[in-house]
C-alpha cells in the first residue's frame, strides 16, 4: 500500500520487489528525488449512470506510485509500464491524471492523485501541462491545427516560449520523430503511425515532468516502436506507458510494472520477468499463451487480385503494385509491413473502397472464377477500419447490428434474434446502449459483430489488435472465424501474427515481398521481412 496518509511523507510502493523507500519531504519542496512523481491512493471513479453502464465503476480502490526518473533523478528508474486489457480503465486513469476526467465527462471521483506532491483535482489541465503530458490512444482527438510544426508549437505558444527557442525545439522534435519534411503537412493527412509520432514530438518539445503514453506503440512498426521508446525514455522526464499487450521491447525500458484489472492494480513488480507477475499477465490475456493457428474447416474458395496498380492523386511517392495475390478462404492470413508500406491501401482496394488504376479482382472456387467490380466487392469483402469510431456511428447497439440486415430485407423478428445472438457472442452490453459511450474494447467488439452478421466471404481486419490484449484479439478472430470463411489480419505484432495466423504476407513499398505458411514463417526473414520479423 502506498504511504499516502501522512501529508509530508511520500514513499515508493512497498510491494515493488521488496524495495521500499520512504523519504521525508520538506513541505513545499517538489524536487525530492526519492518521492514518486505520481502517487495515486484509493482512487475510485465511475461515470454518471447511463443506459447500459449503470453502476459499473471504472476504477475502484486503485493505488500506485510511479517513481521519479529522467532529469529529476538521473540515477533513478526512467519509467513505469501499466498493463491492462481494453476495458481495464487505462484510458480513464490517463485522463484523470491529466486533469481531463471528470472535468469534461462528468462522473464521481474519489481518492487522491498527487503529481510532484500536489493534489491535481482542483487544477485545470492547462495549469498541469508542464507537469503531465498525454499521448492518447486515438491520435485524432488530440490534433488541433493544420500544420505539423504549429501542432508541435501550440503548447509552447500557450506557455509563452519565445519564438526563436520555440523554432529550435519544434525543429529538433520533428527531426527526432522522423518528420522534419512534414512541417507544412496537414496532420489530418498523416497515417496512424505518423500521427502518433507527431504527438510524441509535441510532448518532446513541451518536456513535461511526467509523460503518459496511452497505447502509443500499437500502430508503429518495429523500427519506430524502438525509436519512439528511445525518445520517450531519453526525453528527460518520467514516463508511464499504458499497454494492452506484453512487449519485451517496452518492458526492457521500464523498472516498475503494474497490471490493471477491473479498475484495480492486481499485480505489481520491479522485475518484468518475475514468474508470479508473468503468470498474472498470462492469466489476464496480456501475455500470449501457446500458438493456435486456424480452427476452421478447409474451404476451396479464394480471392484473386491480378496486375493491381494504384497511386493516390497528388502523392508522387507511394505506388502500389501487386502482380498476383491469392487469399484463400478457410485460412487466417496476416499482412505485415512497415508504416506506409501499403497494407491498408491494399485492404481498401480488395474491399472496393478504393478503385485501382489497373488490375482485376475476383472470387473463385471449384465452380470457376468471377471478376468483380468495386461495388460488388463491397458485398463480398468486409473491412474493419483501424479506428472503430470511424465505423460505428448509430445511436444504439441494436441499430448498429441491424443496419446491414435491414438492407438485406431480413424480417424484423429475425433481425432481433440475430442481433441478440451477436451481442451474446461478442459480449456486448444491452442492445439499447449507445455505442459512443461503450468502452474501447466493447466498441471494437461491436465493430466486429456488425460484420459477423453480414455473411462476407473475406474480412480484412485493419490493425484491430491495437489497444486490445492478446486474449481479446484471439477471441475476436475466433468469433469471426466461426462465420466468415477468410480473414486477413493487418498487424504490426509479429508474435500475434505467428500465433494466430496460418499464413503471413510481408509488404514493403507497395509490393508483397514475402509469403509463407505456418511452419515456414522464419523463411520470411530472407524475403525483406527482417524489419518486421524482429
Amino acid at each position: 500500500m502506498t504511504n499516502m496518509h501522512c501529508p509530508d511523507t511520500i514513499g515508493l510502493d512497498s510491494n515493488q520487489g521488496g524495495r521500499s523507500v520512504v523519504a521525508r519531504r520538506a513541505p513545499g519542496r517538489r524536487d525530492d528525488v526519492d518521492s514518486p512523481i505520481l502517487s495515486i491512493d484509493e482512487l475510485s471513479f465511475r461515470f454518471t449512470a447511463l443506459e447500459g453502464s449503470q453502476g459499473i465503476p471504472v476504477l475502484e480502490g486503485l493505488s500506485l506510485a510511479v517513481p521519479r526518473g529522467g532529469r529529476n533523478a538521473p540515477s533513478a528508474p526512467a519509467g513505469s509500464i501499466l498493463f491492462g486489457r481494453a476495458d481495464s480503465g487505462k484510458t480513464t486513469l490517463a485522463r484523470i491524471v491529466s486533469g481531463l476526467v471528470p472535468r469534461f465527462t462528468g462522473g464521481s471521483l474519489g481518492g487522491k492523485v498527487l503529481i510532484d506532491g500536489r493534489d491535481i483535482r482542483p487544477v485545470p489541465p492547462y495549469e498541469l501541462m508542464q507537469s503531465v503530458g498525454l499521448v492518447s490512444q486515438d491520435s485524432d482527438e488530440q490534433l488541433l491545427t493544420t500544420r505539423c510544426d504549429t501542432e508541435v508549437a501550440f503548447a509552447l505558444e500557450s506557455l509563452g516560449v519565445p519564438r526563436r527557442q520555440m523554432r529550435e525545439r519544434v525543429s529538433e522534435s520533428l527531426q527526432k520523430v522522423g518528420l522534419p519534411d512534414f512541417a507544412a503537412r496537414n496532420p489530418a493527412t498523416l497515417s496512424g503511425g505518423e500521427k502518433k509520432r507527431l504527438l510524441v514530438a509535441c510532448l518532446d518539445a513541451l518536456r513535461p515532468s511526467l509523460w503518459i503514453v496511452d497505447e502509443a506503440l500499437g500502430e508503429l512498426d518495429i523500427e519506430w516502436k524502438t525509436r519512439v521508446l528511445d525518445i520517450i525514455a531519453g526525453a528527460g522526464g518520467t514516463f508511464l506507458l499504458m499497454e494492452s499487450r506484453w512487449s519485451s521491447l517496452a518492458a526492457s525500458r521500464g523498472t516498475s510494472f503494474f497490471l490493471l484489472d477491473q479498475g484495480r492494480i492486481r499485480a505489481r513488480s520491479t522485475d518484468p520477468r518475475e514468474p508470479a507477475f508473468l503468470a498474472a499477465l498470462t492469466d489476464a490475456g496480456i501475455r500470449q499463451g501457446s500458438p493456435r493457428g486456424s480452427r476452421r474447416p478447409a474451404n476451396d474458395g479464394f480471392l484473386r487480385a491480378e496486375g493491381l496498380r494504384f497511386r493516390f492523386d497528388g502523392t508522387g511517392g507511394f505506388a502500389l503494385g501487386i502482380d498476383m495475390l491469392e487469399l484463400h478462404f478457410g485460412e487466417t492470413c496476416a499482412l505485415v509491413g512497415r508504416n506506409g508500406s501499403g497494407k491498408s491501401t491494399l485492404g481498401k482496394i480488395l474491399c472496393g473502397l478504393l478503385r485501382p488504376q489497373a488490375g482485376t479482382i475476383g472470387i473463385g472456387g471449384k465452380w470457376g472464377f468471377k471478376k468483380l467490380r468495386a461495388d460488388e466487392l463491397c458485398t463480398k469483402v468486409g473491412y474493419l477500419f483501424q479506428n472503430p469510431d470511424h465505423q460505428i456511428y448509430l445511436p444504439s447497439v441494436r441499430e448498429e447490428l441491424s443496419l446491414g440486415l435491414r438492407r438485406q430485407r431480413v424480417e424484423r423478428r429475425e433481425i432481433e434474434a440475430r442481433a441478440e445472438e451477436a451481442a451474446r457472442i461478442f459480449e456486448l452490453p444491452n442492445l439499447a446502449a449507445p455505442p459512443a459511450l461503450l468502452s474501447y474494447g466493447a466498441r471494437r467488439r461491436l465493430q466486429a459483430a456488425t460484420f459477423f452478421l453480414l455473411s462476407r466471404d473475406l474480412l480484412i481486419l485493419d490493425e484491430i489488435d491495437s489497444g486490445l490484449s492478446y486474449r481479446e484479439v484471439e477471441s475476436l478472430i475466433d468469433a469471426l472465424a466461426s462465420r466468415v470463411p477468410g480473414i486477413v489480419l493487418i498487424t504490426h505484432d509479429m508474435a500475434l501474427a505467428k500465433a494466430a495466423c496460418d499464413r503471413i504476407l510481408v509488404m514493403d513499398e507497395g509490393r508483397v515481398t514475402g509469403d509463407a505458411r505456418r511452419g515456414r514463417f522464419e523463411s520470411l526473414e530472407g524475403a525483406g521481412g527482417q524489419a518486421v520479423l524482429k
Binding site: 485522463r95 492547462y126 482527438e141 488541433l144 448509430l394
Partner: protein, 256 residues
C-alpha cells in the same frame, strides 16, 4: 478527402501577405453591396475569376461552383416572380414571367453571390489557417475569437471528410448506395446524416480536452510560432492591394 480549404502553393496570390488580402476582401464586400448596375458587378466578378484562373489555375474555379450551383439555380428561378416592375421581357399567353426589373435584380443577386464567394475562396485558398489567426490578431481580435473562427473553418471540411468516411462505412455494410429513387435517397442518407451529427456532437468535449491540455485557458501572454511579413515587404503588398481596391471602387464611387 477534403481536409481544409487551404492549398499550399507559390502563386502570386499565395505570396501576398494575408493582412492586405483580408482588407481587400472587405473592399470587395463593400464594392458588391454598393448600388451598382449589373454590368459593373459583372466586371468585378470577371476580374476576380480572372485572377483566380491566372494565379491558381482554371480548375480552381470548379470547387466553389460545385457547391454553389443549387443556390444559383434557386436564385435564378425564384427571384424574377417577386420583382414585377419595368418592361415585360418573357410572356406566356397573358402572363408576364420575367420583367426588366426582375432580370436586373436576378443578375445583381447572382453576380453578388458569385463575386463574394470567389473573393472569399481566393483568400481562404491561399492563406493557411495559422496565418489567418495571426492576421486577425494583428487587427486586434482577441485570441479566443480567432481560435473559434479557425476551428470553425477547420471543422467544416473535417465534417465533410467524416461524411465521406461514414458513406464508406455504410457502403461496406449495406453494399452499393442506391440514390436513384427518391425513397432510397432518404433511406440511404438519413443514417449517414445521423451518424455525422453524432460524430460532430461527440467531438465537442474531445476538442475541449485537446485545447485545455495544450494550454488554452492560461492567463500568461501567448507567443506566436509563425511570423508575418514586416517592413518593406508588407508595405509593398499593401500598396499593390490598395491600388487594386481603388481600381475596384472607382466605377462605383465616381459613377464611371
Amino acid at each position: 478527402m477534403i481536409v481544409e480549404f487551404y492549398r499550399p502553393g507559390d502563386s502570386p496570390l499565395h505570396r501576398l501577405d494575408p493582412r492586405p488580402k483580408i482588407l481587400f476582401l472587405v473592399v470587395v464586400l463593400i464594392a458588391f453591396f454598393l448600388p451598382s448596375a449589373p454590368w459593373v458587378l459583372f466586371l468585378f466578378t470577371a476580374a476576380i475569376v480572372a485572377v483566380i484562373a491566372i494565379t491558381l489555375g482554371p480548375a480552381q474555379l470548379l470547387p466553389p461552383l460545385k457547391t454553389l450551383w443549387p443556390i444559383l439555380i434557386l436564385i435564378f428561378l425564384l427571384t424574377p416572380p417577386f420583382h414585377r416592375g419595368g418592361l415585360p421581357i418573357v410572356r406566356i399567353f397573358d402572363i408576364t414571367l420575367v420583367t426588366s426589373e426582375g432580370l436586373d435584380t436576378t443578375l445583381v443577386l447572382l453576380l453578388r453571390f458569385l463575386g463574394i464567394t470567389f473573393g472569399f475562396f481566393a483568400v481562404v485558398r491561399t492563406v493557411a489557417l495559422d496565418d489567418m489567426v495571426l492576421s486577425l490578431r494583428w487587427f486586434g481580435l482577441p485570441y479566443a475569437a480567432c481560435l473559434v473562427m479557425t476551428i470553425t473553418l477547420r471543422t467544416i471540411p473535417s465534417l465533410a471528410a467524416t461524411w465521406h468516411n461514414v458513406i464508406d462505412a455504410h457502403r461496406l455494410r449495406t453494399g452499393v448506395l442506391d440514390t436513384r429513387r427518391r425513397r432510397r435517397i432518404v433511406e440511404t442518407y438519413l443514417p449517414v446524416l445521423t451518424s455525422v451529427l453524432i460524430e460532430a456532437v461527440k467531438g465537442i468535449p474531445v476538442l475541449a480536452m485537446a485545447l485545455e491540455s495544450r494550454g488554452f485557458g492560461r492567463r500568461n501572454p501567448r507567443t506566436s510560432y509563425a511570423e508575418l511579413k514586416k517592413g518593406r515587404a508588407l508595405l509593398g503588398d499593401m500598396l499593390v492591394l490598395m491600388a487594386a481596391s481603388v481600381a475596384l471602387l472607382w466605377p462605383v464611387l465616381f459613377r464611371w
